[in-house]
């Protein structure tokens, strides 16, 4: 098994699934400005998806391009973490999911800047600028909504409590992750997790939200292709056109 190929797929699918989820909110944001901001994030993530999956396809060397890897693989072949496939829910759910993702994503991209693989470092260099802004934006909204009205506070706390169980997987390394760390191509889990917990702790304190326990029970399996029930619906919508009209282009 080519660990790097698998690792690249994970990065690509994380960005792709979250981008697809955010795209569904296009035109439905709570305000025009929010709508555009969220769609911008979706587009940023789609751009990153293309870089990861293109590199994965080249590395694999079997002629699969970004589109084939995105549109012609079923749920059990998807390698995204379960966090990104969780439903958009209310705006609190959407923003909390985004904040957890952005925090992890930002520190991961910082780590990948120093990857021994120059192509990965290059992609991370492009992604980290976008991730910096994403994190600033979602952190800002978590503070505003957490430290907002009674209703917004309650919804943000509920969203945090619901989604927390999907954050453990981000730092649960398997053989593929560990092989990347051994090649010094990816950062170790411990440092990432510490940075994640520290930043979430700071923002939650400012947002007057109670931070769930880092030792809580955590879901796992997305990176190995075991997904929650939501992913199938996401893929059904996203892949419909290529499935119904194979090879169609426009």
């Amino acid at each position: 098994m080519n660990e790097k190929f698998e690792y690249l797929l994970r990065q690509g699918y994380n960005a792709l699934i979250l981008s697809q989820q955010l795209s569904r909110l296009c035109g439905k944001g709570p305000a025009l400005e929010e709508d555009m901001a969220l769609t911008n994030v979706a587009l940023d993530l789609l751009g990153q998806t293309r870089m990861w999956l293109t590199y994965a396809g080249e590395l694999e060397g079997r002629g699969r391009d970004e589109d084939r890897l995105a549109f012609l693989r079923d749920a059990h072949e998807y390698r995204n973490v379960q966090l990104v496939e969780q439903p958009n829910g209310s705006y609190a759910d959407t923003m909390m999911r985004q904040f957890f993702f952005d925090t992890w994503h930002y520190f991961l991209m910082q780590g990948l800047l120093k990857s021994s693989d120059p192509r990965i470092a290059d992609i991370a260099g492009k992604a980290v600028k976008e991730a910096t802004y994403h994190l600033r934006r979602s952190g800002d909204l978590v503070v505003r909504l957490g430290d907002g009205t009674d209703l917004s506070h309650a919804r943000m706390q509920a969203a945090a409590d619901d989604l927390w169980t999907y954050t453990g997987e981000l730092f649960l390394y398997d053989d593929i992750d560990n092989a990347m760390v051994a090649q010094r191509a990816a950062p170790a889990a411990e440092g990432l997790r510490a940075a994640f917990l520290e930043h979430v702790g700071e923002i939650f304190a400012e947002a007057t939200l109670a931070m769930p326990s880092p030792d809580a029970y955590m879901q796992r399996g997305g990176k190995q292709g075991r997904h929650t029930e939501h992913l199938g619906y996401i893929l059904a919508e996203m892949q419909f056109l290529q499935r119904a009209y194979p090879g169609v282009e426009w």
Binding site: A31, L32, E33, E34, M36, A37, N40, R136, R144
Partner: protein, 94 residues
């Protein structure tokens, strides 16, 4: 108090050395979010290097009704333009 977010006017400087230019307006609850929103709404295509936001309510504007009194008298005073005066040939690089 109105439940609508206040209106902000957005000014973007497209490159160093140029002045900030008015590009439009948006709604935001405070200055910090106005900057963020301006970034998302008005700089998506690499338009700027700097953003100013100003509460629309804080802008003091001249009244359209005063147009004649304020601007009309200048119309007939073309000599206020430097190009009105012919320059002697001998004066170079002025």
């Amino acid at each position: 108090m109105s439940k609508e977010w206040p209106l902000w006017e957005v000014f973007i400087r497209s490159q160093h050395g140029l002045a900030h230019k008015h590009v439009g307006s948006l709604h935001a609850p405070d200055a910090g979010m106005a900057i963020n929103n301006a970034r998302d709404v008005y700089t998506r295509r690499n338009e700027g290097v700097s953003i100013w936001v100003v509460r629309a309510a804080d802008i003091v504007a001249s009244s359209p009704a005063d147009k004649d009194a304020l601007f009309e008298p200048a119309n007939s005073k073309v000599y206020r333009h430097p190009t009105f005066f012919p320059m002697p040939e001998e004066v170079k690089n002025l």
